[in-house]
């Protein structure tokens, strides 16, 4: 049973603690992230799932007073993403992110997707055209926007904006893609499109997704982690977590008795 299903590690949190000033928001998290799999983070509001997610691309470094302890090992090169001598910009170049609320730049659709490449010094029009098209196709939005690439991105619908943001993250070929409740601002149809996309994307990229929606976790993920009050309560294969959770707290949350 285990033989043809031993996934490779893409990342691993080792005894990860995180502090907002004095407040300890993450408490000793140990958790693997498997390569080319979707891992969902679930838990009630304030449990630290977004804080945990944002540790992977060092988003917390943008604000003063935040502090990490422990390690997040990133494979295959076994880099500690949190090490003080690892530049957060290097980390963000390898790890893409999609936010809770679609946040396209007030620029053209084309420039939104090309931005990550421009930041990396790519200015060759042909290369940019090519990669923009590829990323937009990857985010399943190419057919809707191919004739109006020069239009302003904020004029798109919410669901299109979010897929554009996914294209923006995909354009630079990230190894890991972080999704921070990507559908919480979207209607059910747009949500369905994003979920389908996540399913499609895991062929190329490892995905870590925070969701407040348990059905969504069950639908899109291979692995699920349940967090509560800054702790990782339970981690396992999604079907196992949802069918027979080992911890009472996980069971309470999943069955709706709590949260």
């Amino acid at each position: 049973m285990q033989i043809h299903d031993t996934p490779t590690l893409k990342a691993e949190a080792r005894n990860l603690n995180f502090f907002y000033g004095e407040a300890k928001a993450l408490k000793g998290i140990n958790m693997p992230i498997y390569d080319k799999k979707v891992t969902a983070l679930i838990g009630p509001s304030g449990c630290g799932k977004s804080t945990y997610l944002r540790s992977f691309n060092r988003m917390h470094d943008l604000y003063p007073g935040n502090r990490y302890e422990g390690e997040i090992r990133f494979f295959p090169d076994n880099t500690n993403l949190l090490a003080s001598d690892v530049d957060p910009i290097e980390v963000r170049m390898r790890i893409g992110m999609v936010f809770q609320k679609p946040n396209p730049f007030p620029k053209s659709i084309y420039e939104n997707v090309a931005y990550g490449l421009r930041v990396r010094g790519e200015n060759n029009k042909r290369v940019l055209d090519d990669k923009v098209e590829h990323a937009l196709k990857g985010a399943a939005i190419w057919d809707e926007v191919k004739d109006r690439l020069q239009e302003m991105a904020p004029n798109l619908s919410g669901g299109q904006q979010q897929r554009l943001c996914i294209a923006r993250a995909l354009a630079t070929d990230p190894e890991l893609l972080l999704f921070d409740e990507p559908t919480s601002a979207l209607d059910p149809i747009a949500t369905g499109a994003i979920e389908e996309l996540v399913h499609e994307l895991k062929k190329r990229v490892t995905i870590l997704i925070v969701t407040h929606n348990m059905q969504q976790a069950a639908r899109v993920s291979d692995y699920t982690a349940y967090m509560y009050l800054g702790e990782l309560i339970e981690f396992g294969k999604t079907d196992e977590i949802f069918i027979k959770p080992q911890d009472k707290r996980t069971e309470d949350y999943i069955t709706g008795r709590m949260g």
Binding site: N57, M59, L62, P64, I89, E90, R92, M93, G96, M97, F99, K101, N103, P104, F105, P106, Y115, G116, R118, V119, R120, M152, P154, C165, R168, A169, T172
Partner: protein, 312 residues
């Protein structure tokens, strides 16, 4: 419960009482507003009526003169525009850079706190103090003399706090998620500023700059302090033209030229004993006011035009 509940009549009486105060306050407000507007309208009308006989092309094309009817504002309006040009070129880059630094780079600690308080204080320093400072530094220390350059730099100092504060406010209006979106793809702080923060803050910055310039163009005290002349019957040298003395002017020779500006010209005319000059002063006052108002109009237009394309 029973004791506290009101009858419909009592409720209506209460509302009527409240509404009466509403009406009284509204009437008072309209009166105060009308009073303020009336004063402005009267002032402008007075200038227009008094100065009406000077609104001719000659008035704009003549130099100052001993005879009121022939005196014009050519050197004054050219001087004002050139001084504003220097002011804008000095204040905009410095002010925007300072504002971007404070918002995007500076760590929040007691030093930045002190700097912030002092920038606000600088905006409240009386303009003549800037004039004294400039007299010492620009006119004598740097040897710029009583030139357009000295005046432009002095007024640049004066409006720097306005530019810095408006830059910071414009930057703060940009949602954090835009900054995060840029950083998340691996951009440096400078790339984020260059591609996002500064362009999106531009409408706000421009508005601040123009409001600052509109204030600067009416400033008299610091310009008098640095010793601007009140009677100028020539224009600064136009680049690459040869003057009467046979010398060809360089590209930036005009910045070292003596000059006068609109408010000084007006002040000069009002202080003359001959009442005929009052007509000139009124006409020039109206022109200055038109310059300020049109600058504000440009600010409003630019802000509207640029904001149309920026939304989150």
């Amino acid at each position: 419960m029973q004791n506290n509940s009101l009858t419909t009549e009592q409720i209506r009486a209460l509302i009527a009482k409240g509404k009466l105060k509403d009406t009284i306050f509204k009437a008072m407000g309209v009166f105060c507003l009308a009073l303020a507007l009336l004063v402005i309208v009267l002032l402008v009308a007075d200038m227009v009526i008094k100065g009406s006989e000077r609104f001719t092309v000659d008035f704009f094309l003549n130099f100052a003169s001993r005879r009121a009817a022939q005196a014009g504002i050519l050197s004054a309006w050219v001087g004002s525009l050139l001084v504003m040009l220097v002011t804008a070129f000095a204040a905009v880059p410095i002010g925007v850079a300072a504002g971007v630094y404070l918002e995007e780079y500076a760590k929040r600690n007691w030093i930045t706190e002190i700097i912030e308080i002092n920038i606000t204080n600088l905006a409240a320093v009386p303009s003549i103090v800037y004039g004294l400072l400039a007299l010492g530094i620009f006119v004598y220390q740097f040897g710029f003399g009583q030139s357009i350059l000295s005046a432009g730099l002095t007024l640049a100092l004066l409006i720097l706090p306005i530019v810095i504060v408006s830059t910071r406010e414009a930057i703060r209006a940009i949602p954090a998620m835009i900054r995060e979106g840029s950083m998340a793809v691996g951009a440096t702080r400078w790339q984020t500023c260059r591609y996002h923060i500064i362009p999106y803050a531009m409408p706000g910055i421009l508005t601040g700059v123009i409001i600052g310039l509109a204030r600067a163009i009416g400033e008299t005290a610091p310009i008098i302090t640095i010793g601007a002349l009140t009677f100028i019957a020539f224009l600064p040298p136009v680049p690459y033209t040869t003057g009467a003395d046979g010398v060809t002017a360089g590209l930036f020779d005009w910045v070292m030229s003596p000059f006068t500006v609109m408010p000084i010209q007006i002040f000069n005319w009002t202080s003359r004993p001959d009442p005929a000059f009052e007509v000139n002063a009124a006409a020039a006052g109206f022109v200055l006011m038109a310059m300020v108002l049109s600058m504000n109009a440009v600010a409003i237009y630019l802000r509207y035009k640029m904001r149309k394309n920026i939304k989150w």
